[in-house]
Amino acid sequence: MSQNQSDITTKPKQSSSAFNDPRVRGAVFQVLLVGFLVWFGWTIFQNTLQNMESRGITTGFDFLSNPAGFEILMSLVPFDSSDTYGRTFIVGLLNTVLVSFVGIVLATILGFIMGVARLSQNWLIAKVATVYVETLRNIPLLLQIFFWYFAVLQPLPSPRKSLELAETFFVNNRGLYVPAPVFGDGFTAVVVTFFIGIIASVVMGKWAFKRFEATGQTFPTFYASIGLIIGLPLVVFAVLGAPLSWDLPALKGFNFRGGVQIIPEFIALLLALTTYTAAFIAEIVRSGIMAVPHGQTEAAESLGIKKSVTLRLIIIPQAMRVVIPPLTSQYLNLAKNSSLATAIGYPDIVSVFMGTTLNQTGQAVEIVAMTMAVYLTISLTLSVLMNWYNKSMALKER
């Protein structure tokens, strides 16, 4: 380094040479480093495969097209033991995505409620929220999963002694059974109207905003949107003669048939992931709200703005800027923590693919690599989405 610097000072003319341009040099070194890392990684990978081959361990990805030969408890796509190992990957992946997605949505809602509640002026509400956060945050997640699964859900009665609600909903130690919708002819029309309603609401919202800017007149956008999105499809539904029926669960043989079964493994994992992550989100929300200067509230008060409106339109939007980055990492945590599923037998990607499939084929390196790629992809996708949302929420300098 110092050598080059003195070169520059003693022979200023040479500095025009490409190599002395710090940007070019930087780029060259970075390319070299990346090239080296790729070579390094590739060598290790090849080496491993070669060593395994020489020890008689089968390698490669051919196994993905072989029949799996085992069944899976829960699958969002049709699956049967004659399907391939490749399909077990899809089944596991979808189950992971499902529990992560639902978990993120519920944890966000619960977390925001708890975060705001902790700041409530009502002593009881604030205390309840504090106890919630401090308890759940400080108990290891795996214990909470076990608690829900072994202590809450498994002691439920057997299918023959199910708890029921109006012979429609059933709860027992095999899960929760709810009616499954059966769509009749013409139901598509209802769905289409629903989407038309959404588009119309967006357009209407834009129009109402413009009119408000121009004339100062307000428009009941909220109620009009509800009318468009829910009312309109309901009208179409009624006109078409209600093309929807319900398939009710009923006890046949050992278990319930019909309806939708939500397995206890899913419920336990979802409850644990949601309540645990919500405790962290609550803290993030609370700190975000506290980060908004008190002057903002005072200013709103002196303008005579209602408390609820102040929170919704003034405090929360500003707090969001502080909240989003740490919120993103909680989402990532939730997605990754969902791999604890294997402890209670929820068929996520770790349990199905890195568990059973790996054990039946013995192709550990390939399967572990694929599973890692899945978590990496889920995490990167979440990060990109949240960064994009963060940008759109960021302070716009005018």
Binding site: T43, I57, T58, G69, F70, Q154, P347, G355, N359, Q360
Partner: protein, 340 residues
């Protein structure tokens, strides 16, 4: 400067990785140098491998390991047992964490040919069966349509189950757990109607229930499960040792040599017994072991019949009759090649 250094270190590491690849598989030397055999067993399965409160392991699979330790090291107690779940067992052996696997493991085509492992024989002929809650009133496995089934992940059980239900046009929901304790707990709590595993283990698992009388074993046996010790492929010396130690214990039973009479048998006139106990010939040397290798295994651990009676036989809580596991000349499948 720092960058150059780290790049250099990286390159060095890379060459090290490339160069150190071909480490020879010499398990015998490793075990001798260590003075201890490291053996992979189950996390706890009565009759096969189970630790007591003091950490002493007992069982048929445990005795299989002890026999090898006696043959190789001259001391059946020089074994370290590593408890493994069904999912962990093969990786533990492939990676060299254990010297041999003796964990009620079924010998199958795929396992033998694609894992880089070799099965060194069969120490128990088993088959898969079902344990059901009595209150369901099921009398045969063909009445199980629609049942929920508790199984352990990473077992042949998982595959046989799917085949069996498919062949009989029945549906089921598999509830898959990692350990046998969880599987039993799931069954006990009523998460499943049936628990399935190797029949030898069903009796043991049933005994773990709070109320064993509430469950019964169905008559059907739906698969072949030859269980036996496993070693790494491409280490033929070690493979032979594990294989022939088990054969020696089987031959000992056939020849009437037991732990109690082994010393007297040293004076035997029978040529087979002489070769087995090393008073004549060099069978031990051919394995790379001392001439008293089989004597040690038999004297310290016993012949196969003794191992069976002690751990799983009619006088144990498992009460398994010899049946398929009797010697070939007593109506069973147990057959060891001759000692010569």
């Amino acid at each position: 400067m720092k960058k150059t250094m780290s790049v250099l270190t990286g390159a060095l590491v890379a060459t090290a990785v490339t160069a150190g690849a071909a480490s020879a598989a010499d398990t015998l030397e490793t075990v001798k140098a260590r003075g201890e055999l490291i053996c992979g067993v189950s996390t706890g399965l009565p009759g096969f491998s189970l630790p007591d409160e003091k950490g002493n392991w007992t069982g048929l699979d445990v005795d299989t390991c002890r026999g090898v330790a006696a043959a190789v090291l001259g001391d059946a107690t020089k074994v370290k047992f590593i408890p493994l779940t069904a999912k962990e067992r093969f990786t533990a052996l492939q990676s060299g964490e254990i010297d041999m696997l003796s964990r009620n493991t079924t010998w199958t085509h795929t396992r033998d040919t694609s894992l880089g492992l070799n099965f060194a024989g069969v120490n128990f002929y088993d088959g898969q069966g079902f344990l059901v809650q009595k209150e369901l009133g099921v009398k045969s496995a063909t009445e199980l349509d629609g049942a929920s089934v508790c199984i352990q992940s990473g077992t042949t059980t998982e595959l046989n189950l799917a085949d069996y239900f498919k062949a009989n046009n029945m549906s089921f929901s598999p509830v898959v757990y990692d350990t046998s304790d969880q599987t039993v707990q799931g069954f006990a709590a009523g998460r499943c109607d049936i628990l399935t595993s190797d029949t030898s283990q069903l009796a043991a698992l049933r005994s773990k229930l709070d109320n064993p009388d509430a469950a019964e074993i169905l008559p059907e046996v739906i698969s072949k499960e030859p269980l036996g010790p496993v070693v790494r492929q491409a280490d033929d010396v070690w493979f032979n040792i594990v294989k022939w130690t088990l054969f020696a214990q089987l031959n000992a039973e056939e020849l009437g040599v037991t732990s109690a009479n082994a010393d007297d048998m040293l004076k035997s006139e029978n040529a087979s017994i002489q070769r087995l106990l090393g008073t004549n010939g060099d069978l031990g040397e051919k394995l790379g072991l001392g001439s008293n290798w089989a004597y040690n295994a038999i004297k310290q651990v016993g012949n196969y019949g003794e191992m069976f009676e002690r751990n799983v036989g009619p006088k144990t809580p498992l009460q398994i009759p010899r049946g398929a596991n009797a010697l070939w000349n007593k109506g069973g499948f147990m057959y060891a090649p001759p000692v010569r």
